[in-house]
């Protein structure tokens, strides 16, 4: 990266910071935005479907595919032995076969892939296999995995201070166990890959993926061809949420395998049920905690143990657990802690990334503990939360995280104070108490929860990005970058950044498909870093072009390079204003390079995975929310009456998109903690594998009174235009919904008993907790 002139922020006209609509909004509403399945199919295209394991854990004795081959329309069937290269799609640990080889480790594991003339024929044929299994004992629960010490990775631990001593001499101590469930990503567009064989053993794969480079590597390795022979392209996804980070690999590789052997274009599109049966989800977490606190509720020491449902292979379970460990503090200073995290190997889908990536599972534990402590002390949980906040600065102290990073940008005190006031938290608390006193069946609850979320990939080397900016002779601009568009508005933000740098209207800038032949070795669009990394890389590329154009303009029109301004589609140089297009044209004839690459690597990051210490994050994104619910104590039904959220997006690149991300994350996180329940039966089969049984929030679940605002702030870190990431952190805002429900349940016993409520708080879980509180109260 070159050291170039600073952004000309004095320019009177700018695209950054404006609430532009999503760059594809018009295409979306017209149905003309193409997703992978919408691309015109090439002549000779065939369709594939996966044959899935019906057993949770078994040795495969024999696979009889005769009936599959004989089925109408079937062209070929491939299995593990047919990979020219490695049958492997694990993103970090190589324990993840694309097609099961000799054994199956969960119900739904792909065993073979069948190719037919139509999608329907392939799906029908895939069910006709006769597989002879020797069943082995499955492990179906994370706690059972821990008891058996069955892990996909070695346990990890982090400690600071002396938690043991703090606990032993504690004035108060609370111990317990708790759990939060997993969550299906439920991207509306299912997994899909369209593999097209190219000359000289080449392979092009159109794929719905957050990680084109990884798809490229998996396909190259599976086919035993060099990466330069594999092109992976993704224009847009119909949602990703982490589910298309590593787990799109299986589909890309299976489609490519068929295309490689048959020399025909192959489309592999997952039916919703297959998608949910095959792919991993958010990790369910089980916790044991032991926490010391004083009479005011200040936490003095804590011991946490967490075991996640990793599923049958490692996938991203390690980094997810790391982020959980790094977020168990949330906004609170933990002086003496001892944390142990384990990734339980279970015979279920291999769990993976999902928005928040373990962060929510870490942070909600401390929120639960504080909620417990507050009720034991008879205090408002908000006061206990405030008491435990990180210090504002060095003078106050208490501002270094348990993993050793200094919290240098703490705004949680001001942010929470603002929302406490704007939501009338205290007045509503009184009104709710009054309501509950005279309402025998329905009870209201209220909660305010804060969050702090570390921004950057925990693993330092992933924090890099590349971009390519082309300026054409008509003045139009094409941008490529390594990030992927899954609806989060990344391409809109990057286009705004480039338009701003070149001083051209946003309409002149187009961001095209992510393509491994344009930007090499990209990181996944994940960890909320999309705009931070790719925005900076694109800015770097655009600035290089601007620099060259400035130098050329000065040569042509006179003046000084530092005085040249790019704004409003004009270049202002030496007192004259020339159309951007005209300067570009002249520069071309003068043989000036009108395109550039750009690169960015986030500075000042450091992480030691062995000791789990360092400064892994570039900065923190803060937020808080207040939720009010009403709960029916006869049925466990509930409704969110009002939600207020305040989020720190720094100097927002696009407030409309950022508010959209916050609201979307809020409702999605609320679904995780309430209606979205994954149920496996006694044989380890997922029984909630379609929207008929797995219930994500629907329109009535959006509260009628929903007030989302951006907190006025500027990023302390030198991020892209001092903005802050917005993808994942707001998923923590609906913790307030869960704790408001718990508050309402507790009101059954005047708030004196801690309701044993686990997540997801389905109506059934709520009624169970209500009944438990009533029983405890009557004892």
């Amino acid at each position: 990266m070159k050291d170039l002139a600073q952004t000309n922020t004095s320019a009177p006209w700018t695209e950054v910071g404006k609430p532009h609509p999503h760059e594809s909004a018009v295409l979306h509403v017209c149905g003309t935005a193409n997703y992978t399945d919408d691309l015109p199919e090439l002549q000779g295209t065939l369709h594939a479907a996966l044959g899935l394991s019906t057993q949770a854990h078994a040795k495969i004795n024999n696979i009889n595919l005769d009936a599959v081959r004989a089925a109408e329309g079937v062209v070929a069937v491939f299995a593990a032995k047919d990979f020219p290269g490695t049958n492997e799609c694990g993103p970090i640990i190589k324990d993840d076969p694309i097609l099961a080889d000799g054994k199956v480790e969960y119900v739904g594991q792909p065993v073979f892939v069948v190719v037919a003339h139509s999608h329907d024929q392939a799906r029908r044929a895939a069910r006709l296999a006769k597989i002879d299994y020797d069943n082995l004992t499955p492990i179906l629960h994370p706690r059972a995995a821990r008891d058996a010490e069955s892990y996909v990775l070695p346990p990890m631990s982090l400690s600071r201070g002396d938690a043991r001593q703090a606990l032993e001499k504690a004035p108060n101590r609370i111990q317990g166990s708790w759990q939060v469930g997993g969550q299906e990503q439920f991207y509306l567009e299912g997994q899909i890959a369209y593999a097209i064989p190219k000359e000289a053993n080449g392979m092009a794969v159109m794929c719905s993926t957050q990680h084109p480079s990884e798809m490229q590597h998996i396909v190259a390795h599976a086919l035993a061809i060099p990466s330069h022979s594999v092109q992976v392209e993704c224009r847009r996804m119909g949602g990703g949420f982490g589910g298309k980070e590593s787990q799109s690999g299986l589909w890309a590789a299976a489609a490519a395998l068929c295309a490689f052997h048959l020399k025909r274009p192959i489309k592999l599109r997952a039916d919703r049920d297959d998608d949910m049966m095959v792919t991993g989800k958010r990790h369910e977490f089980h916790y044991d905690y032991d926490v010391a606190y004083d009479e005011q509720g200040l936490i003095l020491g804590a011991r946490f143990e967490m075991v996640s449902r990793a599923g049958f292979s490692a996938d991203l379970s390690g980094p997810v657990a790391t982020r959980a460990v790094c977020h168990v503090d949330n906004t609170y200073y933990l002086s003496d802690v001892d944390i142990r995290a384990m990734c339980g190997k279970t015979n279920t889908q291999s769990n993976t990334a999902f928005r928040g990536f373990g962060g929510p599972q870490g942070a909600i534990l401390i929120e639960y503990v504080i909620d417990e402590i507050a009720r034991l002390l008879g205090q408002d949980a908000l006061d206990v939360r405030k008491l435990n906040f990180y210090g504002r600065n060095d003078a106050e102290g208490r501002n270094v995280t348990h993993y050793g990073q200094k919290v240098a940008d703490n705004v949680i005190h001001e942010l929470v104070a603002e929302i406490e006031a704007s939501s009338s938290y205290r007045a509503r608390r009184l009104a709710i108490n009054e309501f509950n006193a005279q309402s025998p069946v329905l009870k209201k609850g209220l909660a305010l929860t804060p969050h702090k979320f570390g921004i950057a990939f925990n693993v330092t080397h992933l924090n890099q990005a590349g971009a390519l900016v082309h300026v054409y002779l008509d003045g139009s601009v094409l941008v490529n970058h390594g990030g992927t568009e899954m609806g989060q508005g990344l391409n809109t933000k990057v286009a705004q950044v480039v338009a701003h740098e070149l001083g051209v209207p946003l309409s002149e800038v187009r961001v095209s498909a992510t393509d491994t032949t344009k930007i090499a070795n990209t990181s996944a669009t994940a960890a909320s870093t999309g705009a931070d990394l790719n925005g900076k890389a694109a800015q770097d590329a655009a600035r290089q072009i601007r620099e060259r154009l400035s130098e050329f303009a000065v040569k042509t029109y006179g003046g000084n390079v530092v005085d040249v301004r790019f704004s409003d589609g004009q270049i202002y140089c030496n007192g004259s204003s020339i159309a951007f297009e005209e300067v570009v044209n002249k520069a071309y004839f003068a043989r000036v390079q009108l395109w550039s690459d750009g690169f960015y690597a986030t500075p000042h990051l450091q992480w030691d995975s062995k000791t789990m210490t360092g400064s892994p994050f570039s900065y923190y994104a803060y937020g808080a929310a207040v939720s009010e619910v009403i709960v029916d104590t006869l049925t466990g039904e509930w409704k969110l009456l009002r939600a207020d959220a305040l989020y720190d997006a720094g100097n927002s690149l696009n407030p409309a998109i950022d508010v959209g991300q916050i609201e979307g994350a809020f409702i999605q996180g609320m679904g995780w903690l309430t209606t979205e329940e994954l149920v496996w039966n006694a044989n380890g089969k997922l029984t909630t594998h379609a929207p008929s049984t797995y219930k994500i929030p629907a329109i009535s679940d959006c509260p009628e009174d929903f007030r989302v605002r951006l907190f006025k702030n500027t990023n302390v870190a030198d991020s892209i235009h001092r903005s802050k990431a917005v993808g994942e952190p707001p998923l923590l805002l609906p913790f307030s919904v869960f704790f408001a429900i718990r508050d309402a349940i507790a009101s059954v016993a005047e708030g004196k008993i801690n309701p044993p409520l686990t997540a997801p708080a389905t109506s059934e879980a709520i009624l169970r907790a209500v009944t438990a509180v009533q029983t405890l109260q009557s004892q």
């Binding site: 999503h22 149905g31 193409n34 919408d38 329905l442 006869l634 049925t635 508010v659 409702i667």
Partner: protein, 496 residues
């Protein structure tokens, strides 16, 4: 005998004779016509990404209804008009629905968007100005069948309001009507593909005759369940007899204190009529019965004939003492609905018989009646428990107590023990408690992914308590005091 499926789409009449009888509209649009604006999200009518609007002629009028393209079998579209997201834009101009979605940031990933746009368009068409501003409840109903995983819905709700503030775009229903009238309707469509017939008779007598000839044929009405047999279970349906064109089955009439609803009347139309008589008791269930596109396609007769133990109509129909009308070779007969269900998926229905109507008693003096649905989610969810209670209450004395539940047994089933302990009793907490205990003898529910047996039984009992709280002679509570959703609505109204 037409032999061809003829439908109007994108300014022309299409004639199709080479697709399987079970080809879905979604497959046809995407794979045969390469119109890829309409998306597949689940292929089971639960996500709404494939929502389209279908126009058809009813009594000389054009009706336009949003439906899930993934569940509509192509031959059922014979004589109808299909509108997809590709139809809305006129030239360069976005339709107000589309414009509002753009301006309100109603799309993020955009995959669900065409479905939302079509549901909103259906709502837009229903609202000929001048009309009062849209209420949130109306928007929720219109979009109850569309899932969005990105936005959290707020901007889409804003777009629904916004679309009505933009200059109105007129839709010429008469033009479509004229075109559909040119598609000549034969007596009975007999569409054949690969030896499998799809019959669409237009007269009840023809239907009965066909049923006699093809007693094994699959009877198809709205297809909201049968569509899933095709897309998810790959069942071979064999010959199909479609009830959707039979004129007699579309009738709604009031006779002798009963409301008679023909078997092919859509769920939404059926509930609209029923709720005119039982607004307080059934409005909530109407909104919570599946989604609007499912209610547009599905029929009350189909719900009853299917007889699923978790269907939402049967408990209240049984509690009210409704009767089912059957037609067969031997003529017409009628029986109490509860007697129709013999065992799991087994009905008192002869091979040549069909369900032709349901007869529902109209409200009477002294009737107390409530129905309650419990599910994980408010919108578009299958019941864990669906309860219905009815009785005559004179003074504080109960009679004619009828209690029925869905989700508690292998069939929709009455709670005879609980009814017995309440009949001729005083409606007080003591009798309530005895009846709640009796429910434990009436039912032995199962545990599944929707709820545990324990939750089902506990809430069945608690819902009886809710019924008592709402109807007890001494100081009954309002619905808003015992129902979180009703209370939330009141809360929202106050906030405004």
């Amino acid at each position: 005998m037409s032999g061809k499926i003829r439908y109007f789409f994108q300014k022309q009449i299409h004639q199709v004779d080479n697709i399987p009888t079970t080809r879905t509209l979604l497959q046809h649009l995407r794979e045969d016509l390469h119109c890829t604006g309409t998306k597949e999200g689940c292929a089971e009518g639960d996500c709404g990404a494939c929502t389209v609007v279908v126009g058809e002629v009813n009594n000389g009028q054009l009706t336009m209804k949003s439906v899930n393209a993934c569940l509509q079998l192509m031959p059922t579209l014979d004589g109808k008009a299909i509108f997809t997201v590709e139809d809305l834009q006129i030239g360069e101009d976005l339709h107000p629905v589309q414009q509002a979605m753009v301006e309100c940031h109603g799309s993020q990933c955009g995959f669900c968007t065409p479905g939302f746009v079509m549901s909103l368009w259906d709502l837009y068409l229903d609202r000929e100005p001048p009309c009062a501003p849209l209420q949130r409840k109306q928007i929720d109903i219109a979009l109850s069948g569309n899932l969005c995983r990105c936005t959290g819905y707020r901007p889409i709700i804003d777009a629904a309001h916004k679309m009505e503030q933009l200059p109105r775009q007129h839709f010429d229903k008469n033009a479509v009507l004229r075109i559909l009238n040119t598609i000549e309707q034969s007596e009975t469509l007999d569409y054949v593909h690969a030896g499998q017939h799809f019959f669409a008779p237009r007269k009840l007598s023809d239907l009965i005759a066909l049923r006699k000839t093809y007693p094994q044929a699959c009877l198809l009405a709205g297809g909201t369940d049968i569509g899933i047999w095709v897309t998810k279970q790959f069942r071979d349906l064999g010959h199909i007899i479609y009830l959707g064109k039979v004129v007699e089955l579309q009738q709604i009439s009031e006779e002798n204190d009963t409301l008679k609803i023909g078997a092919a009347v859509s769920l939404d139309d059926a509930y609209r009529h029923i709720c005119q008589h039982y607004p307080q008791e059934l409005n909530d269930l109407w909104q919570r019965f599946a989604s609007l596109p499912i209610r547009h396609a599905g029929t009350l007769g189909g719900n009853v004939a299917n007889g699923s133990p978790i269907g939402d109509s049967m408990p209240w129909l049984i509690a009210l003492g409704s009767r089912v009308v059957l037609h067969g070779g031997a003529g017409e007969r009628e029986l109490a609905l509860e007697d129709f269900y013999l065992a799991y998926q087994k009905k008192d229905l002869q091979a040549d018989e069909i369900v032709s109507a349901v007869r529902i008693p109209l409200p009477r003096a002294n009737l107390i009646f409530r129905t309650y649905k419990l599910a994980k989610r408010f919108d578009q969810d299958i019941s864990a428990v669906c309860a219905a209670f009815s009785a005559d209450l004179v003074g504080d004395r109960l009679s004619n107590v009828r209690i029925a539940f869905g989700g508690m047994a292998a069939t929709p089933k009455r709670a005879q023990k609980a009814e017995m302990v309440l009949n001729q009793q005083t409606w007080n907490e003591a009798s309530l408690n005895v009846a709640m205990s009796a429910l434990a003898e009436d039912y032995a529910p199962l545990s599944d992914m929707r709820a545990s047996a324990g939750y089902r039984l506990q809430t069945a009992q608690n819902l009886l308590r809710r019924f008592w709280l709402e109807t007890c002679p001494d100081s009954p509570l309002t619905t808003q005091s015992v129902n979180a959703f009703a209370s939330a609505n009141m809360n929202a109204a106050e906030a405004k």
